[in-house]
Symmetry: C2
Subunit: 126 residues, 2 copies
Amino acid sequence: MLIGELAERAGTSPRTLRYYEEHGLVRPRRDVNGYRQYDDAELRVVHEIRTLLADGFGLDDIKPFVACLRAGNESGHVCPDSVAVLRRRLAEVDGYLAQLTDVRQRLRDQLSQAVQEREIRCQMNP
Amino acid sequence: MLIGELAERAGTSPRTLRYYEEHGLVRPRRDVNGYRQYDDAELRVVHEIRTLLADGFGLDDIKPFVACLRAGNESGHVCPDSVAVLRRRLAEVDGYLAQLTDVRQRLRDQLSQAVQEREIRCQMNP
DNA sequence: CCTTGCCTTGACGCCGATGTGAAGGCATAC
DNA sequence: GTATGCCTTCACATCGGCGTCAAGGCAAGG
């Protein structure tokens, strides 16, 4: 499978696949041409990468998951390193959630306060 | 008040204040030197900017709030434009919260699944 | 006069995952 | 031969809120 085909099958671009390779996440063989040649297992790997990216992981965080898959495991998140990353990310997400919840509360407060100010002003200029 | 003093009083840096000015958020007079000269009201403005930034607003979003303050209002979020931005941002934050909540759920699922796999493997290799 | 310490403008660096060319090689079909 | 459509590497652009030099002006005190 050439890079274009894998890109299409994975719903991404050749540029992106080369970027993953540059960061050691994907390792194609090379044809006599110099063309990258991927086997079917790489599709699974790329899907894993994309899913984790969508969940907010960085490429560095994703490495253990890929290694775990390559080690023959059915899923990438059963290995100790993956679990460590999962825990770290979970803590991060909890932090963001707390922050966002605070922000949301402040926003609501400010909105309702703004509305009140308006009502007061309307009573003053009837 | 010179830029260094305002920066210190606002808990930020001269570079940052110049950046705000570049984006039309702060408008100092100029001394004969060419030095920026700020009056005390600007401290309030800078505080508003910093608070909103901390709540995730971009500099463009903040403009209406500053304008509202300059228009003589006691708080920057009572003007219609500010309220519009507040609403938009609230919707955004709700979106992020939903997303993060999903991610969090997936993370927890993957973690518990990983733990289960482990237990199974331990039973197999006692 | 020289140092110190403020100020000025201008411009590049960062971070991360990609887009977007440029310039060229290879393969297949006409 | 040439048109098409893959592929290759190299390298700059994006977004935002600054940090961080660089090179220089101005003020005040020794």
